[in-house]
């Protein structure tokens, strides 16, 4: 379970303090599928970074299973991301000089998995996303949709409990978009927690809960998607 308690994140810009996000209370239960929507600059990415243990709040606490993330050392936060979280990025963020297989092996290597097991797990995950024939291709040799599937394989290869996605369908054609959303549906069915930040209202509608962010604050949840649609 993820809980935000009186979390506030501010930035100092040109001598002025700007509040990027302010949240009195937010609870995301285990196995929930949550979409966060809102206009640019509303604090969506800030929320994702806070939840991912990469951006400390200016005040307040973020608890993961009752453990305050930001009271841990930076190495423990890295371990939490490595073992319990998976990130999906809008621009995929594949490492350009590695093949699809090697990109998927990176999180396994960080987790100390042996090279032989890395190969087995990574190739199995790529097979699951229909990329068996692209395993030894570099990102520049693949289509955008294929790159996002590789990124999804990399996210899921460590079997994370929580998936944090930043505009995962933002750069995709309809067919590739459907592959990603189907993968999220499968993850939801497997009991993983999914928190996705998106502008794509159709994608947001696939989530079981929608949060609307406006000026760094969370507005009414249930009516937000209906109004926006």
């Amino acid at each position: 379970m993820i809980r935000l308690e009186n979390v506030k994140r501010t930035y100092s810009r040109h001598g002025q303090t700007v509040t990027a996000l302010e949240c009195q209370s937010l609870v995301i239960g285990r196995g929930e599928y949550v979409a966060v929507i809102g206009p640019s600059g509303s604090g969506k990415s800030t929320l994702l970074s806070l939840l991912g243990g990469m951006l400390a709040p200016t005040s307040g606490r973020i608890l993961l299973d009752d453990q305050s993330i930001y009271e841990q050392t930076i190495d423990i936060r890295s371990a939490i991301r490595r073992e319990r979280m998976g990130f999906v990025f809008q621009t995929f963020n594949l490492i350009p000089y590695l093949t699809a297989l090697e990109n998927v092996q990176v999180p396994l290597g960080l987790n100390g998995v042996s090279p032989l097991n890395q190969f087995g797990l990574a190739s199995e995950m790529l097979r699951r996303f229909g990329l068996s024939d692209r395993m030894h291709h570099k990102p520049s040799e693949m289509s955008v949709g294929q790159q996002q599937r590789v990124a999804l394989a990399r996210t899921l290869v460590n079997d994370p409990q929580i998936i944090l996605a930043d505009e995962p369908t933002g750069n995709l054609d309809p067919a590739s978009r459907e592959v990603v959303l189907k993968a999220f549906d499968d993850c939801y069915d497997e009991g993983r927690t999914i928190i996705t930040v998106t502008h794509d209202l159709t994608a947001a509608a696939r989530a079981k809960r929608q949060l609307v962010l406006s000026d760094g604050r969370i507005s009414n949840e249930s009516t937000a998607i209906t109004k926006a649609a």
Binding site: S45, L48, S49, G52, M54, L55, I74, D75, S78, A79, R81, R82, E83, G86, F87, F89, T91, N93, I95, P96, Y97, L98, E102, Q105, V106, P107, L108, G109, L110, N111, P115, Q118, R154, D166
Partner: protein
């Protein structure tokens, strides 16, 4: 996929970046290794020359050049042999041996050789005049720890021409062959040979020294004077002091005693080479400075640029669980590999350059020095890691949130 394979794949992806970032270190190490190799061998050569000549003083004709002496002084001027007597009669403290020599060109079975007449030490003891001058109970030099000279077993063999530049006994009809002459003429011990119209028996052949002595044929001084009809003259007189200090003290006394001669110490003979060695040694330190400043700055700048262009990759790695320590090691290991490879290649280039160019630069044969090679590669690697430390630390401090932003 682990840290090492990430570094390796990234290096393979950007070969030109690898070359440009490590070229300064490579060239620096190459120059340093080449210069140090030549310098060390040149210093060893000087040391060997000094050692082979002992604590020597040379008495040469006034206008003779030192180069002539090393070229066996075959066409130089001569000194009266009576200078030997004058030196002995003066009873100077610290004189251990006096060896007059006369060198002439000669032909041995069609082979051009340098015939060097030398007066054996036994002849000094045989002459009453020198005995009365008490040469063979030499005056001890103050501060000299060496016992007064008594010929050792080694001094009694012809090989002493190589080791102490004198010979205890040599009959008038005997010759000793230098190593090159023996090899080329195929004469060996006991053979009879014709030289300058005289007939000689080969007493011994000397072992190789790598000096001009290998091309000499040694015979009795007075036989050479008679056959060459030169009269009682010599090309040079070597005065062997009991120690270096004694040699230094003797020079002004000998100059006063023989004002029409040139009196020099061995260190003066080799001072040009010593000067070149000093220059090269200084140059090698200068190159080391350049290597540290230019190589280090160049690599630090390349790694810093690499960190900038890989910001998103660093952010991604951190987002998927890489610790700051892992990110720092990613760049330090890369620098280590660059330093090691650049150092090794630079060292190999420097070695080849030294071996090929050493004889031309300094007139010495150069052999690889493993210790110096290992030290150079180690220094290059350490420098590379040191230079990369700051940019690697900056990389480890990067904000992983940047992977959520467009860069």
């Amino acid at each position: 996929m682990n840290l090492k394979s990430l570094v390796w794949k990234e290096l393979r992806e950007r070969p030109w970046s690898v070359v440009s970032s490590s070229i300064a270190i490579l060239l620096g190490v190459a120059a340093l290794v080449a210069i140090r190799h030549v310098t060390v061998h040149s210093e060893q050569e000087v040391s060997r020359q000094l050692s082979s000549l002992g604590a020597n003083i040379l008495i040469l004709p006034k206008d003779a050049s030192l180069q002539n002496y090393y070229a066996a002084d075959r066409n130089g001027e001569t000194l009266p042999e009576e200078h030997v007597t004058e030196v002995l009669m003066a009873g100077l403290a610290g004189v251990e041996k006096v060896t007059p020599k006369l060198s002439l060109p000669a032909t041995l079975s069609g082979l051009e050789v340098t015939l060097t007449g030398i007066l054996p030490q036994s002849e000094f003891t045989a002459q009453q005049a020198w005995q009365t001058a008490a040469l063979f109970t030499p005056k001890k030099h103050d501060g000299c720890k060496k016992a007064s000279h008594e010929p050792s077993e080694a001094d009694r063999t012809p090989e002493s021409l190589n080791t102490s530049r004198s010979i205890e006994t040599l009959e008038r009809n005997q010759i000793v062959l230098g190593a090159d002459v023996a090899d080329r003429s195929a004469f060996s011990d006991g053979d009879t040979v014709e030289l300058l119209g005289g007939t000689f028996t080969v007493l011994a052949t000397l072992s190789r020294t790598g000096t001009v002595d290998d091309s000499r044929v040694f015979a009795h001084l007075h036989t050479v004077q008679e056959l060459a009809k030169t009269g009682e003259v010599v090309s040079a007189i070597e005065v062997i002091g009991c120690c270096e200090d004694a040699a230094g003290d003797l020079v002004p006394q000998l100059r006063k005693l023989l004002p029409n001669s040139r009196v020099v110490t061995v260190s003066q003979v080799v001072q040009t080479q010593v000067g070149v060695n000093r220059l090269m040694s200084g140059t090698s330190w200068f190159v080391l400075g350049i290597l540290v400043i230019v190589g280090g700055a160049s690599l630090a700048s390349a790694i810093a640029a690499n960190v900038r262009e890989r910001r998103r990759e660093i952010g991604t790695l951190m987002a998927i669980g890489a610790t700051p320590g892992f990110v720092k090691r990613l760049f330090l290991v890369k620098a280590l590999v660059l330093g090691l490879v650049a150092g090794t290649i630079g060292c190999a280039i420097g070695l080849v350059t030294a071996v090929v160019a050493g004889p031309q630069w300094a007139g010495v044969a150069v052999m690889p020095l493993p210790g110096l090679a290992v030290m150079s590669v180690g220094a290059a690697t350490a420098l590379a890691v040191f230079a990369a430390y700051w940019p690697a630390r900056q990389a480890a401090k990067l904000d992983p949130c940047l992977c959520f932003q467009e860069v």
